[in-house]
């Protein structure tokens, strides 16, 4: 018979092992991509897959020689941050209004906003392409910033709304009694309290923008093409390309992986934001 202490310890070990297993399964494709990026093309295609091989940097050298990585990386950064900033500027007031001044249509509005995510992107490719062309925005960062903002806004509003809903209204009322205006309420009271939640919304938006490929491949060609377009350019119809594709994918993922690693504390805090109550 286990004592309570032993039982808790066992539970902790089992849960820990489970968490590690899930984490390793999730990380395995990334690990394999990084590993493949150091293989030759023939090793990358080898069956059974090779764990022991002679590592090479030739794929990275090839990419450096052929592509201007920093041009694509800068486009990704500008588009992801541009879209996230505009998205947050719209999402915070929208979520504030829905969370603290709820009407009978708020729930329906939120559901309707989310339903726009169910539309397959390819269904609106032609109208958006023609609009972008008419506005002279083809192959510009601005077109992707606008589209990514519109794509991610429903999720951002939902997330911020959820965090705001967890904040007691009394706190805002107290600020109002002290003479705070609506803007002051948001900026001085609401935002500092919900910092963790907002950080995770920002991070999620950045990741979604960074990884988006459909619109970036269809609306850009060279000037505004982000890293997703660079990755696609390494797929070859005639010739082995897995190792080079893995190398360019590693380079494309690296900035956002590092960014996520650095801000993981904020992310975890945001995800456990309900504890404020």
């Amino acid at each position: 018979m286990l004592t309570l202490k032993q039982s808790r310890r066992l539970q902790s070990v089992v849960l820990g092992a489970l968490a590690w297993t899930v984490a390793l399964i999730l990380f395995f494709p990334i690990f394999w991509m990084i590993l493949t990026s150091f293989k030759t093309e023939i090793d990358a295609f080898a069956t059974p897959p090779q764990l022991i091989f002679h590592p090479t940097l030739e794929n990275y050298l090839h990419i450096q020689e052929r592509s201007d990585y920093f041009h694509f990386a800068w486009n990704s950064v500008a588009i992801a941050f541009g879209s996230t900033i505009i998205g947050m500027l719209l999402a915070v007031p929208a979520a504030y209004s829905m969370a603290f001044h709820e009407t009978r249509l708020t729930k329906q509005t939120l559901l309707w906003m989310l339903s726009t995510k169910m539309l397959p992107a390819v269904g609106v490719l032609m109208p958006i392409y023609l609009m972008t062309k008419s506005l002279g925005l083809l192959d510009t960062k601005l077109s992707l910033i606008i589209i990514y903002t519109l794509i991610n806004l429903p999720i951002m509003v939902w997330m911020v709304y959820t965090y705001f809903k967890d904040i007691p209204k009394d706190i805002l009322e107290a600020a109002r009694l002290d003479g705070a205006t609506t803007v002051q309420e948001i900026v001085r009271v609401l935002l500092p309290i919900s910092k963790g939640g907002l950080a995770s919304t920002v991070l999620l938006s950045l990741i979604l923008c960074w990884n988006e490929a459909f619109w970036s491949l269809n609306l850009t060609s060279s000037s505004a093409a982000p890293l997703t377009a660079l990755i696609a350019s390494y797929s070859s119809p005639e010739g082995l390309f897995w190792a080079k594709l893995s190398a360019v994918s590693t380079l494309a993922c690296a900035p956002i992986l590092i960014f996520g690693w650095i801000s993981q504390k904020q992310l975890v805090r945001g995800l456990s934001f309900g504890a404020v109550k």
């Binding site: 023939i42 060609s221 696609a232 350019s233 797929s235 070859s236 082995l240």
Partner: protein, 435 residues
């Protein structure tokens, strides 16, 4: 001081004029080694043409097709030079979406182009794209395995012979498979191979009245041979194998034979990526009851969309990249074996034939290819491994999925052919073809 100001103004003026005159040519292409080499060597073109600046957009093949179709249909004007195949050239040229390649310089020597390639890129006698490299299909085989088994590959084998060789060389316990063929579904994937195989068996996509013929005896024989041979002597998971997967299998020594694009010749004999580089033999693409259409013809070509804002500069580049001078540049800088193959008769010099052991077979296939007569019977269409009608992409891919399903055993061959007949007939009727 005055002099200095004048000099500064003059320099600024020259810069302004140069800037104003500099045309930017945006080239959309795919990530094939020949195209990447062209990108690398294009600095020479820019040096020769300081008034033209080149911008490269490299895309995945299917994305490229989708992007170009969207851009060209909406007159988006995003690209000045397009890398397209014979199928698109025929369709887009007829619609007036491409600029005709007129007024080519005398030293371009258009008569040096292979007639089959030139005709494949022309609509009613007008050239709409300049061929960058062209390919046919040939048979690759392992000379060491053939020697070991006491077999001899004929110069022009038949599919039946390949089946017999495959049976003798198939040793799955040693990771050695008799024959590797495309199985991945798609009009440009398995249907390129199955289409040419069907041609060799005397089949055709449509009769003279545009009625599909999948339930005829020729298609039945070809499809049964393909599925049976692959099931018995092919590698496992063949239904997901395209060109690259089979190339990897062959290069790692797992295929005794492989029938695919002639462009693989340089990959299979390259020691840096092939474990069997010293043991590769080449033979003609297999025939069966006929030679007609038994080897495919495809040319990656450079075309100029009518929406281009820099047509003159674009033609200047397309002409340079497909010229004899470019071939010489490649030979000088990267070796004669790397000259883009299949487009010009002059490429096949003695030195080239010696450097590229697969060139002889590839050349004979290119010379034989006739897109106007792809089958033993008369056909109402142009194209060997495809049919130059807009509906073909959808039809080819749909039929390709059925062949893939037959290969995995999801349905018997007869059922796949019946379904192919029904879906193709329906699609053609909807498009108003049958007479």
């Amino acid at each position: 001081m005055n002099m200095l100001l004048k000099a500064l103004f003059a320099t600024a003026g020259i810069c302004a004029v140069t800037y104003a005159q500099a045309a930017t040519v945006t080239i959309a292409t795919v990530n094939n080694s020949d195209m990447i080499r062209m990108q690398r060597l294009s600095k020479t073109f820019e040096e020769q043409h300081p008034d033209i600046k080149l911008k490269w957009v490299v895309l995945e093949e299917n994305v490229l097709r989708q992007r170009l179709t969207t851009d060209i249909a909406t007159q988006g004007g995003q690209f000045d030079v397009l890398t397209i195949g014979m199928y698109e050239t025929g369709l887009w040229g007829a619609k007036g979406w491409l600029e005709p390649m007129k007024n080519l310089p005398a030293d371009y020597d258009a008569d040096d182009l292979f007639p089959s390639v030139r005709e494949g890129l022309s609509v009613k006698g007008t050239l709409y794209a300049l061929p960058f490299y062209a390919e046919s299909s040939i048979t690759y085989y392992r000379t060491d395995l053939f020697k070991g088994a006491g077999l001899t590959m004929p110069e022009q084998p038949t599919w039946e012979q390949l089946g017999e060789f495959a049976a003798k060389l198939h040793q799955p316990d040693k990771d050695q498979y008799g024959i590797c063929l495309r199985g991945k579904a798609g009009w440009g994937e398995n249907m390129a191979l199955v289409g040419t195989m069907a041609n060799a068996f005397g089949a055709r996509w449509f009769d003279e009245k545009w009625q599909p013929e999948f339930t005829g005896p020729e298609w039945t024989k070809a499809a049964s041979f393909y599925v049976d041979t692959m099931k018995k002597y092919g590698p496992p998971g063949a239904s997901s194998n395209g060109f690259n997967e089979n190339l990897a299998l062959f290069n790692s020594g797992k295929c005794a034979m492989w029938v695919d694009a002639s462009v693989a010749g340089s990959f299979t004999t390259d020691k840096s990526q092939s474990k069997v580089a010293d043991h590769v033999g080449f033979a003609a693409s297999p025939s069966q009851v006929t030679d007609n259409g038994s080897s495919w013809l495809y040319a990656w070509s450079l075309a100029i969309p009518s929406s281009s804002k820099n047509k003159e500069a674009a033609q200047s580049f397309a002409t340079w990249a497909t010229s004899k001078q470019y071939a010489k540049l490649v030979a000088d800088k990267e070796g004669i074996a790397n000259v883009p193959p299949g487009t010009r008769k002059s490429t096949y010099s003695d030195a080239y034939m010696q450097a590229a052991p697969f060139a002889k077979v590839s050349l004979s296939m290119l010379e034989k290819a006739d897109p106007a007569h792809p089958s033993a019977k008369p056909v109402p269409y142009i194209g060997i491994q495809y049919v130059t009608i807009p509906e073909f992409q959808a039809i080819g891919t749909s039929v390709g999925k059925l062949f893939s399903a037959a290969l995995t055993g999801q349905m018997p061959v007869e059922q796949a052919l019946q379904a192919a007949q029904q879906s193709t007939a329906r699609e053609m009727k909807r498009a108003g073809y049958p007479k």
